[in-house]
Chain length 376, copies 2
C-alpha cells in the first residue's frame, strides 16, 4: 500500500537479532560476535547451542549443567513413543519430524509458558530430542532399535552411533560435531523467519519449531543438501562436466550453489570442503569428493557461483554413513539450536509480524445470484 | 543491512496477491474484487472458499462439483482416527489441530505434489476436513461421538450439529455460515504470512497449513476471540465500565479492539455486531451483547479504538453454543479457505521469502579454551 513490493523481502530488514551476523561481501559469519572460523572445530555443538540460547560460551560447570539438562531432555513422552512406528511407516522424514515435535508438546511441563526461564528449558529439551527423534524414526522404519545414547559421547557421536548402529571413529564424531556447529544459525533464513513470525503472535515455542520444520522441508531450503547427493549418485563421475553444462544450458538451478546473502564463498563451505576431502582420503574412496570438486569448477566457470553450505555437506554426510533422505533432518538437528534461540529472542522483545500485501487482482466485481452466474 | 529495520514489517509490502484487499482508511475489505458487504449473508462458506481457491464465484454446476469434492474430502485417514482420542486427552484444541493436520498429510494422495491441480484438490480436502477434525476432537474429549454429517446441511450447519449434538435452527446455521465467510481471508495476517513463508521454500501445502495453525494459536492473533469471551464471562455486567477503565489505566491491551490495518471500523465487526444483537434477541438473553456494547463504548471513549473481527465474534459464537476454547479452532475452519488459496498463489509464482536482519549483538569476541573461560 505504501511501498512497492519487495518480492521475497530481499534486503528488507525484518528483525533485529543478537544471534548471528553475516558479512556477505567479505564472506564472514558470526555467532554472537564470534567468527565462525574461530569456532568451527574448536567448540562442540553443545557449547554452540549454549552460546546461541544463553548468550555466552559456557565454562566447565555451566557446560556440565547444560549437558545434564540435555540428557534429561532426551526422554520422549508416550504420545511419541507409542506412535513413532506407525508414523515412520507412513510419513517421510521431515513430514514425520513435523508431526513428532507437534505431538511431543503434549508432555512438556512448560508448554503453556513463554516466560524466559520456561523457554530456556524448552530450548534445551528440543535440542536434545531432535536427534533422538531422527534416530528413533530411522530405527522404526528399518525395523531395528536405536542403541541407547552413551553418556560418554556428545550429541554428534551419539547420533552417528544411533544411525549407523556402530560406535563412530573419534575423528568421524569430531567432524560431524563441526558440521552441527556450522549449521546451527544463519540470521533470517526462511525457517528461522517462519519460527519468528509464529512466535510473534505469542504462540508457543513448539508451534514455532513445528512451523520451522515444515519450512525447512522445502527443496529451496533444507531439501537442497539431499538433492545435491541425488545428483552425485545419479550420474557417472565421467559425466559431471557434461551434466552440469547441459543443466545450466536448460536454465536449471544447480542445487548447492549461490546464496542470496553471500557475494563470495560461504565461509561454511570452506570447512565442509576440507572435511569432504579428509573423509575421502580416510575412506579410500574419493569418488564423491572428486565429483564435487569438478562440479564446483564447472559451475564457477559457467556462472561465477560459489558452493553454499549444502554442497559439500552432501558428500560429508554420505562419507559419515548417513542415509541420503536424512540429510535434511540432520540440518534440523543442528538448526534447532538457532531456531529455539530466535524464539527466545522474539518473545523477549515482541511485536506482531504483520506485513502488507499489494493487491493485483480483479476490482469492482458485483455479486449476482448463483442461478444467474455464467461459468468462467 | 541495507535499510533500517521495520519492526513487525508494518507497512512493508511482502507479497502480491489477487485474493483479498483492504482499504484501511475507508474500512473496506474485498475478496477477489467483491466488497465483503456485498458477499456477507449472500454467499455460503462453500461459495466463498471456491471463490478464493478457484478465482470466481461458482455457478450451480461448479458448486455441486465442489460440494461433492468436499463431501469426499471429509473421510479422515486411519493415522488420524486411530490417534484422535489419545491426542484429545493430552493436547489443547489448537495444539491438537496442528498435530492432526500434520498426521493427516500421510494419507493424502497428492501430498508430494505442488502442481496446480494437486494443490486445488488438497485445498478442498483441507477445507472439508478442518471442521470434522474440530468436531471429532471435541467429541473425543467429551466422551461422545460426533453425529455423521448430514448431506442436506453445508459446512456451517454440519459443524454446529456436530458440536452441539443437535440439528441447528436454520437461522443459526445461516448466521454461522456468514461468520465463516467473514473470517475466510484477510491479506497478509500473521498466519497467512507464515503459510506463504513456508510454501515459498517449495514445501508442501500441509506443512504450510500446519505452520499457519501454530501461528493462529497465538493470543495476539487467533487467540483473541477466546480471550474476549473469557473477559465477558469473568466479570459482572455491572462491572464492565470499571473493569475496562481500570485495565486501560494499567496499560493493558484490551483484546478485540484496534487493528494495524484499519483506521476506522473493521467492516467485519459491523456484521458481527448485528448478528450478536439478533442472537441476543432470539435467545431472550442479551447479557453478553449488552456487555459488549458497553465495553465498545468505553474503549472508544477512552482510546478511540474500534472493535475488530474478534470482538463480536466472541458473543456470536457463544450464543451459537460453541464452547469458548473452540473459538480459535472455528477461526481456523474459516481461514483454511484463505490459507490454502494463498499457498496455491505462492506456488504459482514463487520466490523464496528470505528477509535480512539487523545485527545488534556483541562484536569481535575471541574464542578461549573452556578451561580458561570466566563464567558470566
Amino acid at each position: 500500500m505504501t511501498d512497492k513490493p519487495s518480492k521475497g523481502l530481499a534486503d528488507v530488514v525484518a528483525a533485529s537479532t543478537a544471534l548471528s551476523d553475516i558479512d556477505g561481501k567479505a564472506g564472514r559469519l558470526f555467532y554472537r560476535g564470534y567468527d565462525i572460523h574461530d569456532l568451527a572445530g574448536k567448540i562442540s555443538f553443545e557449547e554452540c547451542s549454549y552460546l546461541l540460547q544463553r548468550g555466552s560460551l559456557p565454562d566447565v560447570d555451566a557446560l556440565a549443567g547444560y549437558a545434564a539438562e540435555l540428557a534429561e531432555g532426551r526422554e520422549l513422552g508416550t504420545l511419541v513413543t507409542d506412535n513413532i512406528a506407525e508414523i515412520a511407516a507412513s510419513q517421510t522424514p521431515m513430514e514425520a519430524l513435523r508431526t513428532l515435535i507437534s505431538l511431543d508438546s503434549a508432555g512438556d511441563p512448560d508448554k503453556d509458558s513463554n516466560a524466559a526461564e520456561a523457554n530456556l528449558r524448552k530450548a534445551a529439551r528440543l535440542t536434545a530430542r531432535e536427534p533422538i527423534l531422527v534416530a528413533r524414526y530411522h530405527a522404526a522404519r528399518t525395523g531395528g532399535e536405536a542403541p541407547d545414547p552413551d553418556p560418554e559421547l556428545g550429541i554428534a557421536g551419539n547420533f552417528l552411533m544411533q544411525i549407523t548402529g556402530e560406535r563412530p571413529e573419534p575423528r568421524a564424531a569430531e567432524i560431524f560435531d563441526e558440521c552441527l556447529v556450522l549449521h546451527a544459525d544463519h540470521t533470517m533464513n526462511a525457517s528461522t523467519f517462519a519460527a519468528r513470525v509464529c512466535a510473534a503472535t505469542l504462540s508457543d515455542m513448539h508451534s514455532a519449531i513445528v512451523g520451522a520444520l515444515g519450512t525447512l522441508k522445502g527443496p529451496l531450503h533444507g531439501g537442497a543438501n539431499e538433492q545435491v547427493m541425488r545428483i552425485l549418485e545419479g550420474i557417472e563421475p565421467s559425466e559431471v562436466e557434461e551434466n552440469v553444462r547441459r543443466r545450466l544450458a536448460d536454465g536449471e538451478k544447480i542445487m548447492g550453489f549461490g546464496h542470496r546473502v553471500y557475494k563470495t564463498e560461504d565461509p561454511r563451505a570452506t570447512h565442509l570442503r576440507r572435511m569432504s576431502e579428509e573423509l575421502a582420503e580416510t575412506s579410500g574412496d574419493d569418488t564423491y569428493y572428486a565429483m564435487s570438486r569438478r562440479m564446483e569448477q564447472v559451475v564457477f566457470d559457467e556462472k561465477g557461483l560459489n558452493p553454499n553450505v549444502d554442497f559439500y555437506a552432501a558428500s560429508v554426510y554420505h562419507y559419515l554413513g548417513i542415509p541420503t533422505d536424512l540429510f535434511t533432518p540432520v540440518f534440523s538437528v543442528s538448526r534447532m539450536a538457532g531456531w529455539t534461540a530466535h524464539v527466545i529472542e522474539q518473545h523477549a522483545d515482541n511485536r506482531l509480524i504483520r506485513p502488507d500485501s499489494e493487491y493485483v487482482g480483479a476490482r469492482d466485481r458485483k455479486w449476482v445470484p448463483i442461478e444467474r452466474r455464467v461459468s468462467a
